[in-house]
Amino acid sequence: MYFIIFFIVLLLLAVPLGRYIASVFSGQQPLFMRWLRPVERIIYRLCGIDEGEEMTWKQYAGSFCILTLFGIAFLFILERIQGGLPFNPQHLGAVRWDTALNTAISFATNTNWQSYGGETTMAYFTQMLGLTTPNFVSAAAGIASCIAFLRGFMRKSCSTIGNFWVDVTRSILYILLPLSIICSVVLVSQGVVQTFRGYPRVQTMEGESQVIAVGPAASQVAIKQLGSNGGGFFNANSSHPFENPTPFSGFVELLAILLIPAAMPFAFGALTNRRRAGWVFFCSMALLFCVGFLIAASAEHRGNPLFTGAGIAGNANMEGKEVRFGVTESVLWGQATTVTSNGSVNAMHDSFLPGTSIPLIFNMAIGEVIFGGVGVGLIGIFFYAILTMFLCGLMIGRTPELLGKKLEPLEMVMAVIALIGPCVFLLIMIAVGVASPLGLASRGNLGPHGFTEIVYACASAMGNNGSAFAGLSANTIFYNLLTGFGMLAGRFLTILPALFIAGSLARKRTFPTSSATFPVENPLFIVILCGVIVIVGALTFFPVLVIGPFLEHLQLMSGIMF
């Protein structure tokens, strides 16, 4: 029931938001936002951006790389010198180099994997300038890339795909900023803290004194959910009562997590004038989302046979969950954050049953395409759509096309790189983690569960998710470098091929649909697309899932735990 209400509210918000996003990027801002135009112009004037200038895909990709690399360098330096900077009431010192590098990559690639505990590592200044800023910028870069990618389908016989800086500015100014302001106000009303004061020392009931970590959290929480970032202000992330105090705040944050990713297909529909195609992509994502949720929820509700048998717990598995959220909401949160590359957690994923972790790992391993990260999720599912339409085109005896654009060797090379590259790197990363003593040393558990911990961490990094399984002590040089590599690979292997394809498609002529073409706007396409995603994912990760969660599940059923 909770799930159905949630989904209806999501849909009611996502459809208009999608149209709004489309109008922002087609250059016709809706009337109620016109007053921001002068602000936008001032930004362009200050930054020396020519609004009318168009970029080729190479220039666009170059700008994207510059922004990302600059973000990494900036954040890395900031973390290293935070001790000497203001807004540091706790006098936190410089962050260790590998942690700083990992964090810098993590936030610049929209992953927000955190190997550190926020309240014990990062000063307020670092949190706000260093961590909140990339939350906006990396999300905006994702949206911009997606819009540029879609321009490949919208344009014909054209060598340019838009202006990166303009797209990023518009993403932040018209989309991310207004939404975060609304969201953070709602959150503050629910009791999320927003303060610059130092950590208060309070007397507990037992008469001991305790330091309570606070800070400017609400503003960061809003964008971390909206921009599919997920980096928590506090270590306990969204299960922390100051980040997510009430069931209602949980509901709002859950909406924020899925809102923009769910709106992107509608934005695509409006931009390309193919409303129904937008719905088709949304439905494909929604279908996979619901199936994954049902698998996870049923596993979690069935509970842990050992605990249930021993009479120490109810039927559902409550281990590692907040009582104020309960099982369904926690599982929905887990499902929502793993599909959207939003790494926030409101329950300990480590404590989910193995049957639950299978869909969660699957969501991340297939490359975050079920809704996915803001912008990049839609790009990701388009790669699968390219593969799907390639097969479908052949099966009806036409040279394959997608949305009127022919799919030729160049597009295939890029789609294959974007689909298979991350899978290949992910498998290698897991193998490195599993084979090296350094990798094994960080495990929180032995046996298949320890294997799952490593798989989860690698998948989270490669999918630019940032979700932590916990259990694994990831703040080691080994894991900081391994996941750092994964995050870079995951980010660039998605966006650069996408921009390349956009450039190549924009140059082509567009073919009209006829009775002989297979339209995307067809239920059959949803079925085939979902089938392709599931089969490709399953074929790649079958052994991993068998050795990890599935084996653990079997052993759990027969009474062995790790």
Binding site: L387, F390, L391, C392, G393, L394, M395, I396, G397, R398, T399, P400, G404, L407, E408, P409, E411, M412, V416, I417, L419, I420, C423, V424, L427, I430, A431, V434, A435, G447, P448, F451, R509, T510, F511, P512, S514, S515, A516, T517, F518, P519, N522, L524, I528, G531, I535, A538, L539, T540, F542, P543, V544, V546, I547, F550, L551, L554, Q555, S558
Partner: protein
């Protein structure tokens, strides 16, 4: 289908293909098919392991069987390719042999004549070919008329007329002159003749891969790399739970997961498609054009020669007031006796029917003088004694009658106008000053044209007619033939403009032409089919040559183009869907000894780990020869909407590909177990 399949296996080509499949084991040539190259490397690895183990006295029986079946996998794929090449190659080989033995009579610029081997003839050389001789090379007749037997290349036994000037001047090397003597200009250099193109299309090593084939191959290579990493990572993962996996099993898993079915059959599909095209008497100069033909959605057709027979036929006589039907028919008959145009002959035929006389009984009067048709008078006719019979364009004949002092009744004029309005042609017949009536001439459609146009529409292709006629005539023909659109009063350059216009609207345009003035349009069209009988310029501008010169050949080309693509897509889907079952066979087999609980994954209940792996490998190997007939004949194509076509193929090859290996592997497992129990 049964008869065809018999053909395939029993033909003497099978022997050559068997030899070919071993020759193709050479890694240098196998490089063109990367998937199979990896399989071969895998087979080599397991063979080495088998040999080392057997020398060391260890257990090698299992490894030996795996190696054997891996080699079979490669051989089966090679066999498919060799078989596909066979027919076209044999045909080309015969032609090449005849040609290398052929001599041509070359005329040197200074006028002297010499016998030279056909292979020495180059572009621009002039040759003389007499009756009974073979044409030494491709070219164009510059002088003379000949009856040519083209059966060597077309298989068509009826000889055809080829003559200098006009649109029937092309000749092809290897054909035979039956009668007549021609002087021809050779138009190709050795190595660039039709024959060479023909061979290049059906011979794997020389064939250029089409963009679509390359795109598919990229996907296959990508999948191969992915599965290679999956398999390489597996022992690492397995060692985490203290399971070790033998190299043979890993190689077996790799080969089973890789898209070997499509990878092995991919070259055969393309070659067989070209071969099927060749058997429809179409030579394609680019494989790309054949596949593009599957996408064509507009075809430009010339009216004359394509849609209509190219001449008008008399269908009715309409006498003027006070004139009897017989009198008109007789006058029309006399006026046309010497008229050798098809129109004239059709008038004679119709008149004979009306008057009821047999051919022998007709003689022109003794002192008759025939007046031939001329552009100035726009009439033809006959004069004898004082009679002047004329037939011709309405206004010209009216003018003639008036000049002899007659007058034309309003009814005749009106009737003539009405006939013209209906898109047909009225011819007036006059005897001196008396206008006798009207001959109704009609454009006659070629046989089956409306059906073929309808079939084109079924394929999603619009047919557009181009004609120099006025719009009324064009409209009536278009309506009769069921065309989607027409362009009347077109000049040759209109065609080029029209093709550009359609292409700008995003259409893929096919064009069929034969004349020299078609060449620019042919060069612009996405798919350009030239008639073999057409001029050399047209043939050079086109990317396909229709040896039979039947204009509706496009239907066959489109269907074959689509079949090639569908077969590729179907086998790719099948190949990938197959993997699911193979995982369920091999993964439990790997882990079940140490983790018996994982036997729940053994959904097929395969007997032992060894039999499971072996069954998967054998299934993977024998599915290739089992699908050879499908690859060579192509997936059957029935015009229907894209969605229903996709549903059908997805169900058969996607769902079927998912389910079939579960059955197949289980069956093979049972057979293997049964054999083990026999000893």
């Amino acid at each position: 289908m049964t008869a065809q399949r018999k053909n395939l296996w029993q033909s003497e080509l099978t022997g050559a293909a068997l030899r070919g499949s071993f020759v193709k084991l050479n890694p240098v040539t196998l490089w063109r098919s990367p998937v199979m190259l990896v399989v071969e490397l895998g087979a080599l690895t397991t063979t080495v392991i088998t040999i080392v183990d057997s020398v060391a006295g260890g257990k090698f029986w299992f490894d030996f069987q795996i190696s054997l079946w891996l080699w079979f996998t490669v051989l089966f794929a090679n066999f498919a390719e060799a078989l596909a090449e066979g027919r076209g190659k044999a045909q080309a080989e015969t032609l090449r042999r005849t040609r290398s033995e052929t001599h041509g009579t070359k005329v040197f610029p200074d006028g002297h004549v010499e016998q030279v081997p056909a292979l020495m003839l180059g572009k621009g050389d002039i040759v003389v070919v007499d009756a009974g001789e073979l044409v030494p090379g491709d070219g164009e007749i510059v002088q003379g008329v000949a009856l040519v037997d083209e059966s060597a290349i077309t298989g068509e036994s009826a000889p055809v007329v080829r003559e200098a000037g006009g649109d029937r001047s092309g000749i092809t090397g290897g054909t035979k002159i039956l009668s007549g003597r021609i002087t021809a200009r050779i138009s190709t250099d050795p190595g660039d003749t039709f024959l060479d193109h023909m061979v290049a299309m059906v011979e794997s090593a020389k064939r250029q891969k089409t963009p679509n084939e390359i795109a598919l191959e990229i996907l296959l290579v990508g999948l191969t790399i992915l599965f290679l990493v999956v398999v390489l990572a597996l022992p690492v993962f397995a060692s985490y739970i203290h399971v070790s996996i033998s190299i043979s099993v890993l190689v077996a898993l790799l080969v089973c997961l890789m898209p070997t079915t499509i990878g092995g059959l991919l070259p055969a599909i393309g070659i067989a498609g070209m071969d099927r095209l060749l058997r429809k008497n179409v030579i394609s100069l680019s494989g790309r054009a054949v596949e593009a033909a599957g996408d064509v959605d507009v075809v430009l057709l010339d009216k004359t020669g394509t849609i209509t027979l190219g001449s008008r036929m008399a269908t009715d006589f309409i006498p003027a007031d006070g004139v009897s039907g017989e009198e008109l028919a007789e006058a029309a008959l006399f006026s046309s006796l010497a008229d050798e145009t098809p129109e004239g002959r059709s008038i004679v035929v119709l008149a004979k029917q009306k008057v009821g006389i047999r051919s022998q009984d007709i003689h022109p009067p003794e002192n008759a003088v025939f007046i031939p048709f001329s552009v100035e008078t726009r009439m033809s006719g006959i004069n004898w004694d004082v009679r002047e019979i004329r037939k011709g364009a309405a206004d010209a004949v009216e003018e003639f009658a008036r000049s002899r002092g007659g007058e034309v009744s309003g009814r005749v004029t009106r009737t003539a106008d009405n006939i013209a309005l209906e898109g047909e042609t009225p011819l007036l017949v006059a005897d001196g000053k008396r206008v006798l009536g009207i001959i109704r001439l009609k454009d006659v459609l070629k046989q089956n044209i409306p059906e073929r146009i309808a079939r084109l529409r079924g394929l999603g292709i619009q047919s557009v007619m181009i004609t120099g006629d006025n719009s009324i005539t064009a409209a009536s023909i278009a309506a009769e033939a069921g065309l989607d659109d027409f362009f009347a009063q077109a000049k040759p350059e209109t065609k080029l403009g029209l093709i550009r216009k359609y292409q700008e609207m995003g259409h893929l345009v096919a064009m069929i032409g034969d004349g020299t003035n078609d060449a620019p349009a042919l060069a612009q069209a996405d798919v350009a089919v030239a008639m073999n009988a057409g001029t050399q310029v047209a043939r050079e501008a086109a990317n396909m040559i229709d040896l039979d010169s039947t204009p509706t050949k496009l239907l066959d080309i489109v269907e074959i183009g689509k079949q090639i693509l569908i077969t590729r897509g179907a086998l790719t889907t099948f190949s990938i869907a197959n993997d699911v079952a193979k995982y369920f066979a091999i993964i439990p087999a790997v882990f079940v000894v140490q983790y018996p609980r994982l036997n729940v994954l053994n959904v097929m209940h395969l007997a032992t780990p060894a039999s499971a792996v072996l069954a998967a490998v054998i299934f993977n190997a024998i599915i290739i020869p089992m699908l050879i007939p499908l690859a060579l004949h192509g997936v059957s194509y029935r015009p229907s909407s894209a969605v229903s076509l996709l549903k059908r193929n997805m169900f058969i090859y996607g769902f079927g590909g998912l389910a079939l290996p579960f059955l197949g592997i289980k069956l093979l497992d049972m057979i293997i177990v049964a054999f083990k129990h026999i000893p």
